[in-house]
Structures are given as structure tokens and as C-alpha cells.
Symmetry: C2
Subunit: 342 residues, 2 copies
DNA sequence: CTTAGCAACCGAAGCGCTTCGGATGTGCAC
DNA sequence: GTGCACATCCGAAGCGCTTCGGTTGCTAAG
């Protein structure tokens, strides 16, 4: 059996194709009784609008793509949660979410670009933003509606949803200071990313107020991978003077760092305290359970979706730059400092 | 500037719209010289076919969806790798991959169904198969091309790609037997899934040959979550007689189990050996590094994609039921048994 | 009684592509 | 000269929808 079309509904319900279309799409110049009749028939026939026909006529696909960078998906489980929330919200608004995930050749972006040009998607949610991002302008130049998870420096006109990374890191730093730590290491995310800059600034500021600033040798830039966390920690651990605590850019980095610490025959948290970021499911099951920062993933996703739709439909609220706060999740990977030297 | 259409190319290259279309789509009744001319113009104008128009005319979307169950994505990182490979392969064939991931209300499937009815997708890759699967027939009844990652009992006509879970588990079991273990626990995946049945049968058979069969109390059915692994292990650990080794259905389950073992004041591997499944990135960084089973994700993804396309285009090879072997990755979570009691 | 204004509805064009069925031209055997 | 096979090309229809620009029939003001 072939799928029913608008014409089938028109025939069944005794009105024109135009009226059926307008009834189904919620236009106002359709009487309530007609609308009800049309909806009843549509439901009975299990009608589904043909996305191609609709797209061709309206130039809209009702699909939006989530674009991220190389390996971000595997290394940043938090994206999964955020995107689930995005999908859920979009679904309620009649949109589908597509993941344009990255391949080694960085095709995530190219894919999205070409999908837009083919009218397969109406807009893009970009999941990681670089300082002086080279990708963002490519979308913007083509007039592709973009919403950022993160923030683009000096581009407040691009709608965005972000977490207050600076405040979160400031809080983590203060927590460690309160435990008596003064020598704090910092495994930063790649500083080409805006979020990494923000987080570091939070750390830096509190450290400056408290102890005159971070020690440069203990600040290491790492990728998101476990191995990179291991290597970063190893570098700090093999120094002459070691920190008593290490703040990590993600839980996976923290996990790598913890392995390095064990390999150096040191204990967490007795010898070195460790803090992660993201609160991935694994964090609670580590030994010791990891103290970390939780992001409001559900809320982030919901807002991203809403911003996206209003960017596309240009009717609702104007571009917003939303920033949410994080929670500090205290577990057992940090300890009050044992023997204050200095 | 508006996107160029076939007509633009036709005008520029001096041939008809029909010829341009056929040239671009590789039909044979176009001379080489014409084809080259057309391709050149298309490239110069940066032509991208309008997916809607194409879909409307040809009734094909050149998109395929990956469908999975509740939370599978977060708990089964291996899917990410497989899907990356699927995406990569599909991309080379002119197709896009969409993830129709699940929401709590199990909408992954509904989504895919409705997307198919809207002609947004041409087929579905189904990522987990239940015994007597209730979802599969829903796709099949609608005539939706489906390829399984896994196998459906008694449905050899549905193309599938799977891993030889029975052989893998048999190998794991033999490995533990070789280390002197006789009392082996087994944290199984939900037995409603075909793959869990297969894996268990591999374990069971080897145990039967070696020691007359598994001990029923040490076989526990768990979900994929870390917590579930913890709970399952806790149940076994609180028994009067404990196993000396535990085989886990996934690395995350193993991670949960390891935490339980620590909480019981026992050591891995000295007191209890642990084996995982999947070789997630985290496995190598655990303490101790986890012995586990690696699946050939890249190959799996490639084959899934190829099967999908041939299912859609009905031209190439017939439905296949492919099964690949896994690798056992030896690390430090298993030890030769210390003191044989019995 | 006339007519402006409004609610409700509809006809037809057209979105950009594929594809069916033919048209054209060339070379070659008869 | 005629007919045929073949390679190459093209016109036009049509996919199912949205939307522009109406028309119709009613109410209520003038």
C-alpha cells in the first residue's frame, strides 16, 4: 500500500488540498470543525507528510545537525547527554537531530556544510569552539544558522549556550585551598579552545589572589584522552618539586593522571589530590571515587535546541548568550593536606 | 546567491537538463566528452543536488539511520566506534548516517519508523537484537530495509554482521581454566538479547567440558551499567562460597565489579580475577589494567554499511550473515590461582 | 439596498530533480 | 536508396507539498 498523500486526505474529507495543508500546519484561516475533520482523516489514514515534498516546497528540512570535532564524541561523554536532551527537545518541536560526527579527516564540518547545501539540514549546533575559530565563519558566511555549545569571543551575535567554566574552576581551586593545598597543578584542555581559556582563567584568578599565581611548570596543556592525562601528569610528577593536588580538565584526563600517580608509587588522595570535570558515570566507580564538576546537561541541551529553533524561525526571541552554573561533586579523591612544608 | 540547479548547469554546458542529470549520475548513454564538460561546469558552480528534489523524484533519501535501545550509547562505547566506521563507509557511497538514538521513552525506534514513512531514511541499522525481537518485525512489516548488528534467531534472511561471542567467551573461559581457576562467576548481559545468549553458551560449553558446568549461583544477569556490575558482583561476593574469577559482559560491568571487590576488601587479581568485554579506552588505565575482549569495530562498521547499501539497492550481493572473530587482550586483571582449595 | 470587511476556502503554479519514451544522427549491410 | 542497430541526447510529465493570490458567502455598517 502506498503512503497516503494530501490529496487522499482532501478527497476523504471533502475539502481542497490547500485547506488540508493549512489545517495540518496550524494556520488560522481554517474553521475549527474543518480542522478537526481533517485531523481525524489524517490520523485514520496514518498520514505522514513526505519530507522531500515538504522540503522542496518550503525549502526546509526540519532536521538539524550536531557537529563536533575529531574524537570529541568518544572523549567527551557529556556530549552524549547534552545531545540526548537536544534531540528530545527538538522532537517535541517537529525537528530531527542528526549527528554529523567527525571522521579522522575532519569531515564532520564538511559533511554539515554539504548537507546544508543539499538542504538536508536547516541549521547546525557546533559543539566546540576555538579561539579565532576557523570553522564558525565558514558556516556563518554561508548563512547557516548556528548555535554554539560554548562561546565565541567577540561574536555575541551568534546564539550560544555555555557553562560558567571560570566560576566552576574557581570553586574547585578554592576548595583545594581550603583543604590546605598551596601547590596545585593544572592539566588544562587545549588552550585553542575557548572553554579551556575560561576554565584556566578561573583557576588563575583564585590562585593569584591566594598565593600569587599558579606555578607555570605545573600547568600542562593536554588533549582529552586518557593517555594524554597520563603523560601530562607524568611530566609534572617527574619534576623536582611536585604539587600536592592536580586539577584536571576532564574525568578521563583525571583517570589517566591517577594511573600515572599510582605508577609513581604515590597515593590518591593521601599524597596527591585529584579533581576531574564532567562527572562521567565511571567517576563514581574509580578508586578512590573522583571529586569532579557536574554540568547541567539536560538544561544545556534543552536551551541549545530552543535557541536553534528560534535562530531558524527568526520569529521568536533574539539571539541569546546563555551561561549556566555547574555543581561541584565532592567524593574521595581530595584530602586535607597532611604535612605542610613550605 | 542562490544554489545552482541542474538547469544552470544545463545552460552553461549547452546540453539538456536530462543529459546533465544522467551525466552526473553516471548513466552510460552520455558520451565521455559531454560528461567531462558537465562535471567541469558542476564543479565550477559548486553544484550540490537538492536532496529534497532528488528524493521527491526518486523516492530515495540517501540517508540511513542507526537505531539502538535505551542508554545503549552511553553504556556501549563500542557502538561509537562501529558507527564511525559505518559513517565513513556510507559517506564514500554517497549516503549519510543518522543516529536515531533512544530517549527514555524508547523513541529511537518510533523515530526511525516515522522517518522512514516520511522518506527521510532509506534503511535502518539495528544495533541490538532481542530473542523474539518485537521491534524487528515492525520494520520488516513496513518493508524497511534492515541490517542487524548481531543476529536474529531464525531469521537468516535478514542481513546481519556479528561477532562470534560464543567463541570469544569460550576462549576467555579456557584462559581462566588454564590459570587454574575452577570456580568461575559470570555476569551476563540481559539474556533477552541474542548476543548475551551466544556469549553464555560459549562459557557454558567450555565449563561443562572442563568441570561439569557452571555453578548456577555465580551466574548473574546484569544490565550494562556500572552500578549493575557492582550489584551483580556484590551478590556473588556475599555468598558463602565465592568464585576465584569473574567474567563480565562488558568493561563497564567489570569496572563496577572491581569496585565491589575492593569494597569487600579483596584484591584483583590476587583474590579474584576479572575479565571484561569490549576493550573500552578506560580499560587500560584501570588498576589493575583490565584483561578484556576486543571487537573488530572498524571491520564491523564497514560490513554493516556495505550490507545496508546492498539491501537498499537490491542489485549487489544477496543477504549475508557475517560473523567475525574477536581478540583476547591480556592485561593484569587475571592471575594464576594461588591456593587451590576445593 | 448597497457595500466594506471578514472568515473560510480553493486553484494553480512551482520547488529541482528523475525518468519514460521517443528523437536524432551516424555507420553499415543489403 | 533503404533499413536497421546503436550511441547520444532531449521534452515533458510528475513526485507531494506550500503558498500566492484570489473567490465566495456572510454579517453589519452606511
Amino acid at each position: 500500500m502506498d503512503s497516503p498523500t494530501l490529496d487522499d486526505i482532501a478527497k476523504e474529507s471533502g475539502c481542497s488540498r490547500t485547506t488540508v495543508s493549512r489545517a495540518l500546519n496550524g494556520y488560522s484561516d481554517v474553521s475549527e470543525s474543518t480542522r478537526r475533520k481533517v485531523l481525524a482523516v489524517a490520523h485514520r489514514l496514518n498520514y505522514r507528510p513526505n519530507a522531500h515534498a515538504r522540503g522542496l516546497a518550503s525549502n526546509r528540512s526540519h532536521s538539524i545537525a550536531a557537529v563536533m570535532r575529531q574524537s570529541a564524541f568518544a572523549e567527551t561523554p557529556i556530549f552524549i547527554e547534552v545531545l540526548e536532551s537536544v534531540r528530545h527537545t527538538l522532537g517535541g518541536l517537529g525537528y530531527h537531530l542528526l549527528h554529523a560526527a567527525p571522521t579522522p579527516e575532519f569531515v564532520g564540518i564538511e559533511d554539515a556544510l554539504s548537507m546544508y547545501q543539499m538542504h538536508k539540514i536547516d541549521g547546525v549546533i557546533l559543539l566546540e569552539v576555538e579561539v579565532n575559530d576557523s570553522v564558525l565563519p565558514r558556516f556563518l558566511d554561508l548563512g547557516i544558522p548556528v548555535v554554539l555549545f560554548g562561546q565565541a569571543e567577540g561574536r555575541r551575535s551568534v546564539p550560544s549556550v555555555d557553562v560558567n567554566g571560570a566560576a566552576a574552576m574557581a570553586r574547585v581551586t578554592r576548595y583545594l585551598l581550603d583543604l590546605g593545598h598551596r601547590r596545585i597543578g593544572y592539566l588544562s584542555g587545549p588552550l585553542k579552545y575557548v572553554y579551556a581559556q575560561h576554565r584556566f582563567s578561573g583557576f588563575e584568578q583564585v590562585m593569584t589572589e591566594a598565593v600569587g599565581g599558579p606555578i607555570a611548570e605545573w600547568v600542562v596543556e593536554v588533549e582529552g584522552s586518557l593517555q594524554s592525562g597520563y603523560d601530562g601528569a607524568a611530566r609534572v610528577l617527574s619534576m623536582h618539586r611536585r604539587p600536592t593536588a592536580v586539577i584536571c580538565n576532564s574525568d578521563y584526563v583525571a583517570l589517566g593522571a591517577m594511573k600515572a600517580i599510582r605508577d609513581w608509587r604515590l597515593r590518591v588522595p593521601e599524597d596527591i589530590s585529584v579533581v576531574g570535570f564532567d562527572d562521567v558515570p565511571v567517576a563514581r566507580f574509580l578508586s578512590p571515587p573522583l571529586t569532579t564538576v557536574r554540568q547541567p546537561t539536560g538544561e544545556l541541551g534543552r536551551l541549545l535546541a530552543e535557541q536553534m529553533i528560534s535562530a531558524i524561525e527568526r520569529s521568536t526571541s533574539p539571539a541569546g548568550n546563555i551561561v549556566l552554573e555547574c555543581d561541584l561533586v565532592l567524593r574521595d579523591s581530595c584530602a586535607r593536606i597532611q604535612h605542610a612544608e613550605e
